[in-house]
């Protein structure tokens, strides 16, 4: 049962990534693209956690943790760039 659930979740996430890509390419606003990227990061964290479950291996959690910690830095930087140009002023 867990196996099916994992497969289902993977499928959902795969689809989600595809939808993110669509928004990423479509835009139209810069904010849309940044948002799409941010969502991709969050979905990726989920994927990494799922890989851990699927392979019964928790070696990958650090990757997920790190992505959660620093993934948004990119988002923030992109936004700061759009707002101020100079991201570190």
């Amino acid at each position: 049962m867990i196996g099916y659930a994992v497969t289902f979740a993977f499928a959902c996430l795969a689809l989600a990534l595809g939808l993110n890509l669509w928004r990423l390419l479509k835009g139209p606003e810069v904010g849309d693209r940044v948002l799409a990227l941010d969502t991709m990061v969050i979905n990726s964290i989920a994927i990494i956690v799922l890989i851990g479950v699927a392979t019964t291996n928790n070696t990958y959690f650090e990757a997920a943790l790190l992505l959660a910690m620093v993934g948004f830095v990119g988002t923030v930087a992109y936004c700061k760039f759009m707002l101020r140009g100079d991201i570190i002023e």
């Binding site: 049962m1 867990i2 099916y4 659930a5 994992v6 289902f8 979740a9 993977f10 499928a11 959902c12 996430l13 689809l15 989600a16 990534l17 939808l19 993110n20 669509w22 928004r23 835009g27 139209p28 606003e29 810069v30 904010g31 849309d32 940044v34 948002l35 799409a36 941010d38 969502t39 969050i42 979905n43 964290i45 989920a46 956690v49 799922l50 851990g52 479950v53 019964t56 928790n58 959690f61 997920a64 943790l65 959660a68 910690m69 993934g71 948004f72 988002t75 923030v76 936004c79 700061k80 759009m82 707002l83």
Partner: protein, 140 residues
């Protein structure tokens, strides 16, 4: 290995399905909602819960399947709790800034342009926060 009860299995599977489902819904919202401000709601919430579901599923899984407590997932949630609103906030700021600056692809959504605050001051994105107010985190 601890015997995995059917209930545990159901719980894990439910959490994973829920999580996957929410993640998908969040990303679907990103695609179908009419403008950036609406789209912003999808990922920041549905996706967090989606991830939350998967995290809880994972925690349960390692507890029930492996007999090892993992609390790493909570840590991930903690960080997301802190970072997700910031990301959303900044994207929103970019939007209203672009609206005001008339950057071309940016158009107001169904809610229109944001109204100004009732006081004389404008929003911080348009007007530097006044010194001495809580909104001001001046350099010193």
């Amino acid at each position: 290995m601890i015997d995995l009860g059917i209930l545990g299995e159901i719980a894990i599977a439910a959490m994973l399905v829920l999580g996957g489902g929410f993640a998908l819904v969040g990303s679907w919202g990103l695609v179908r909602l009419p403008s950036l401000m609406e789209r912003l709601h999808g990922p920041t919430k549905a996706t967090t819960l989606g991830l939350g579901g998967i995290l809880i599923g994972s925690m349960l899984f390692f507890q029930l399947e492996q007999g090892t407590w993992t609390v790493h997932e909570l840590l991930i949630s903690l960080f997301l709790f802190i970072t997700a609103p910031i990301a959303a906030n900044l994207v929103a700021k970019v939007h209203i800034h672009a609206l005001r600056a008339r950057h071309t692809p940016t158009v107001p959504g169904p809610a229109g342009a944001p109204p100004p605050p009732p006081s004389g001051a404008d929003w911080a994105t348009h007007e530097a926060p006044h010194p001495g107010t809580p909104a001001s985190t001046s350099e010193n």
